[in-house]
């Protein structure tokens, strides 16, 4: 039982880590809570659903490799475009006004509500599932059961996390992103255009959120409200890992996933959210820097 819970925790933790990471990439450059990120992730899932259901209508086959490639490409680019549009249409004017953080957060709530209900208007409030062929029995590994889909989720999320980490450490654009995260003014002095970096951050972060959206929709249902839970968990994971830290976001996601799953060992599954927020509040009060102990700006905490 314990092994199974740990494994389930690691799988959901991988997804949380991916969401937290994609959120962190954006947070580092703009320094406000991009709450609407959750709905970008939902958009990713819905794009995948749209491609699969159209594919089924046109070719009446499901689960072919080509449909997979098209669906992944569509939802990843779709999410990326939505994320960039949010930045250009809402956040950019706010940046020009030099709006305070809270204004960004509330505008972000507005974007979130708008897109979530747009999804509901188009697809209805009901729960949808992506059909990916027949259900197969899971593998038994070390006393726990894992399905093919779960292995895929685990592998892809670990791969994306590591790839992003390397990108930020090694690539030229990644280094520029770190420079802007540390000090936008100094970065612009050495010829980095912060606006372009912010654009890149929104594109990369949103693409990753879209990827997380597809991964989740393989395992669970899609519904318009799915983004709320995702972004709340993503933000909690980022804060308990250390806000703005990339390894922190990964550790925080994993920690949160495992903690939630161990928590429901003794109590019913409905209490997951309570556990997550209880952990958040404990961290905010006792260790605001998170696991990685990042320095938080004194004026804000």
């Amino acid at each position: 039982m314990l092994k199974q819970l740990l494994l389930n925790g690691a799988i959901i933790g991988g997804i949380y880590a991916l969401i937290a990471l994609s959120f962190t990439i954006i947070y580092r450059t703009v320094k406000f809570f991009h709450f609407a990120h959750g709905v970008v992730y939902a958009v990713g899932a819905y794009f995948a659903y749209a491609v699969f259901s159209c594919w089924f209508l046109v070719f009446s086959e499901e689960g072919s490799y080509l449909s997979w490639i098209v669906a992944v490409l569509a939802s990843v680019t779709g999410a990326g475009i939505v994320g960039v549009l949010i930045d250009r249409l809402v956040y950019l004017p706010l940046r020009r006004h030099k709006a305070p953080n809270l204004v960004f957060l509330i505008a972000s709530f507005g974007v979130f509500i708008f897109i979530q209900n747009l999804l509901q208007l188009i697809y209805g409030a009901q729960i949808l599932t992506i059909r990916t062929g027949p259900v197969k029995e899971g593998h038994h590994i070390l006393g726990a059961v894992i399905t093919d889909t779960q292995i895929l989720i685990l592998v892809v999320s670990v791969f994306l996390c590591v790839a992003l980490w390397l990108f930020v450490k090694k690539a030229k654009l990644g280094k520029a992103m770190r420079a802007v995260a540390d000090d936008p003014l100094a970065a612009s002095v050495v010829g980095i255009n912060p606006e372009r970096i912010i654009l890149a951050a929104f594109a990369i972060g949103s693409v990753l959120a879209g990827a997380a959206g597809i991964l989740v929709s393989l395992e669970t249902n899609i519904e318009p409200t799915m983004g709320m839970n995702a972004i709340l968990k993503g933000i909690i994971a980022s804060i308990i890992g250390g806000i703005g830290s990339i390894p922190g976001a990964m550790l925080g996601g994993l920690f949160l996933g495992i903690a939630e799953n161990l928590g429901i060992w003794k109590i019913s599954a409905g209490w997951k959210d309570c556990i997550a927020f209880a952990i958040l509040i404990v961290f905010l009060l006792l260790r605001p820097g998170g696991i990685m102990g990042v320095k938080t700006q004194g004026e804000r905490l």
Partner: protein, 289 residues
């Protein structure tokens, strides 16, 4: 006609919620986004007392409001140490926690099935059941809330609140116990939100967790911001506009599967436009910091 009066009653309840949140957000500058949690606690406390122990709704209203105020203390003590967007997140978290307790504590709240058959108010042994009488009742509570809020914001206490909002360090330097005042105002806000929740429960006679979601909290915040931060009149304007306006969608014959998301989309768009063009709201005096 009855429907129109019903909308007015609901508007009145939202005016109470908006006034009380405006005291916290607009006058004191605390970004608290979990107001539905307090009205949830107030509603459930007085409904459960009435259903299980036959407690009169009048007493239940008071106890419900006090329970919400106690929750205000419990939540305020740790979270008011946080500032700005972190406070917003912590209070949002409170909203999620209270909602999920209402949804999962089956033994007490019956979870998603909700609590049906909550008794209404009665005066001298006569049950109030007509919408008109509820309109008068809610109007009395709205006037009461407004008078209390006006007293609060015009008193020296209210001046300290605005001082905290405009410059916390300066208020601290003037020897004001900033944390104590923040706590007090948070508790007063929670008390009135609990009262509004209890009024709602006894009026509708049915409650379930879906009336107290995070979205609900954000809607109340929108009413405060739309009407005007730090303006009591603005709270009337904000609540009335945002409750009555979406009802027009129903009048043009839109089915509720379209009207419900459309209403939320309008709310979302309004929040964005307000933040871009007029972050202090229509009659507002205070801008976010």
């Amino acid at each position: 006609m009855e429907y129109f009066v019903h909308i007015l009653v609901i508007t009145g309840i939202y005016v109470i919620l908006t006034l009380s949140l405006n005291l916290v957000v607009g006058y004191t500058g605390l970004a608290a986004i979990g107001h539905a949690a307090f009205s949830c606690v107030g509603a459930y406390a007085s409904s459960l007392l009435a259903l299980n122990y036959g407690v009169s709704p009048w007493l239940g209203l008071l106890i419900g409001a006090c329970t919400a105020a106690v929750l205000g203390v419990v939540v305020g003590a740790p979270s008011l140490r946080l500032k700005g967007d972190y406070l917003a997140l912590a209070t949002l978290g409170l909203g999620v926690i209270v909602y999920s307790v209402a949804k999962n504590w089956m033994a007490v709240t019956r979870g998603p099935m909700g609590l049906p058959g909550i008794p209404g108010f009665s005066i001298f042994g006569v049950q109030i059941s007509e919408v008109w009488s509820y309109l008068i009742l809610v109007a009395v509570f709205v006037v009461l809330t407004y008078m209390v809020m006006r007293r609060v914001v015009e008193s020296p206490f209210g001046r300290i609140l605005r001082a905290i909002r405009d410059d916390e360090v300066a208020a601290l330097a003037m020897g004001k116990n900033v944390n104590k005042y923040k706590m007090l105002v948070f508790v007063v806000g929670a008390f009135f939100a609990g009262m509004a929740g209890s009024l709602y429960a006894h009026y509708i006679t049915f409650i379930d967790p879906s009336s107290f979601t995070v979205m609900e909290s954000i809607s109340i915040l929108l009413m405060v911001v739309f009407g005007g931060m730090g303006s009591l009149k603005g709270s009337f304007v904000g609540a009335a506009t945002l409750v009555i306006l979406p009802e027009l969608l129903r009048f043009v014959g839109m089915p509720s599967s379209v009207a419900a998301p459309l209403r939320q989309m309008i709310y979302g768009l309004l929040l964005i436009v307000l933040m871009l063009k007029r972050p202090q709201g229509i009659l507002g005096t205070y801008r976010w910091k």
